[in-house]
Amino acid sequence: MNFPKLSTDEIKKLALSTMGFVFLLYAYFTFFLGPLNRSRHDAQNAIADFQHKLDTSKSEMQKATNLERQAKDATARFATLKALSPEGAPIAWFPPRMKGFFADEHVDKAAARLENNNTFKETELAAWTKYNWLIELPQCDYVAVGQALADLENAEPLLSIKKLSIHTVAEQPQFQQVAISATTVIEKR
C-alpha cells in the first residue's frame, strides 16, 4: 500500500489534528458523557434501593398484620394487666385500695406504706416498675388473715408477698399483728 508522501507542513497539521482529536475525545468522555453516565448509575442505584424498600415494605406490612392476628390473646392479656393499675401515682391509690380490700375481708385498721421502688433487670419490662410496700394489719384474726391473703393473691396477680410476719398481741391474745412485705408490678405512667 502506498501512502502519499506528506510534506512537513502536512505532518504538523496531522499531528495537531490528532492532538485536537484526542483532546476532544477526553473532553467528551470527561465533561459530557461521564456526568451523564454517573447520573444514570446513581438513578439506577436509587431505583434499586427504593425497589428493595418497596419489596420489603410489603412483607413488613404483611408481618405486622400477621403479628396483630397472632397477638390478639396477648393484647387482651396485656390490656387486662395494665388495667390492674389505675392512672396516677401508685402511692395515691395503692394504700386506699389495700385498706378497702382488707376492710371488705373484715380486717380493719390496714395500712400500707411505700418502702421503695426499683426497675426490672429484664429489658422487656423496661416500662414497668417494682414497688415494695409494707402492709400492716395491727389487729386481726389468723383465719381472717389467711382468707384475706388467699383472696389478695388471687385478685392481684401482679402482687407477690415476699415476707409475712404474724405475731400475737401481748395484751389481746385473741388478735394477731400482721406485717406483709409485698411487691407490686406497675406500669410506668
Partner: protein, 219 residues
C-alpha cells in the same frame, strides 16, 4: 488494439490530489466521529432521562407507601414488645409464691396442746426457697413431745406440696411457768421451729454422655 489518449491527465491528477488531501479527509473523519459521538450522547441522555423518570415514579410510589410502612413497623415493634412483656409478666405471675396455702397447712398442724406466738416467713432472693420461723408454746404432760409432734406434722404437711423440706428445732426448752388446762397444772415448753423448703424441684444435672469405646485393631 485501440489507442487510448488521455488529454486531461494533469487535471485528473490535480483532482485526485485534491481528493487525497489529508486535511480534508481528517475534517471528514472528525465530522463523522463527532456526529457519532453526538448521537451516542443523545442516546445516553435519553436513557438517563428515562431512568430519572422511572426514579421519579418509584419515589412517588414510595412516598405514598412510606407512612404506612413506618406505621406498620412501629406497630409491629410495639406488638413484639407487648407480647414479650406479657410473656415475662405471665412468667412472673406463675412463679409467685402463695402464702395462704402455707398458713392453711400450719393451721392443720396446730393441735389443742400447742400454741403459736409468732410466725415469720420469707421468700429468698432466688424466688424458690422459702424459710419460716415459728415460735410458740406447748402445754402437755410431755410438752417437748407435743412440740415434736407439731414439728413432724409440719414437715409432713409441707412435704405434700414442696421440695427439699427441712423442719428443725432452733430452740426447745421447758418453761418455768405452768398452764392451767381444765384445772390441771400442766408443764409448758417454749419452742422455736425453723423450716425451709423449695417451691420447685431442684433442676437435676444432665447425665454426662456415655463414653463410647472404640475398638482398636488389636481387639
Amino acid at each position: 488494439m485501440a489507442l487510448h489518449l488521455n488529454l486531461l491527465h494533469e487535471e485528473i491528477l490535480e483532482q485526485r490530489q485534491r481528493q487525497r488531501d489529508p486535511l480534508k479527509i481528517g475534517v471528514l473523519v472528525l465530522i463523522g466521529c463527532g456526529t457519532m459521538l453526538f448521537l451516542y450522547y443523545l442516546w445516553t441522555a435519553y436513557r438517563t432521562l428515562e431512568i430519572k423518570s422511572r426514579l421519579g415514579n418509584v419515589q412517588r410510589e414510595w412516598a405514598k407507601i412510606e407512612p404506612k410502612v413506618t406505621a406498620a413497623q412501629k406497630h409491629a415493634a410495639e406488638l413484639t414488645n407487648m407480647v414479650t412483656a406479657t410473656r415475662v409478666l405471665d412468667n412472673y405471675i406463675d412463679k409467685r409464691f402463695f402464702w395462704a396455702p402455707v398458713l392453711e397447712k400450719i393451721s392443720h398442724c396446730v393441735g389443742p396442746n400447742v400454741q403459736l406466738t409468732a410466725f415469720d416467713g420469707q421468700i429468698q432472693e432466688d424466688e424458690r426457697t422459702v424459710s419460716l420461723m415459728i415460735e410458740g408454746v406447748a402445754a402437755a404432760r410431755e410438752p417437748r413431745s407435743a412440740a415434736e409432734d407439731l414439728r413432724q406434722m409440719l414437715r409432713e404437711q409441707l412435704e405434700k406440696n414442696y421440695h427439699d423440706v427441712k423442719v428443725e428445732f432452733k430452740t426447745l426448752e421447758d418453761a418455768e411457768t405452768f398452764a392451767n388446762l381444765g384445772g390441771v397444772r400442766t408443764p409448758m415448753a417454749r419452742y422455736s421451729i425453723s423450716a425451709t423448703f423449695k417451691t420447685t424441684e431442684e433442676p437435676k444435672p444432665t447425665p454426662a454422655p456415655a463414653k463410647v469405646k472404640h475398638k482398636t485393631e488389636s481387639e
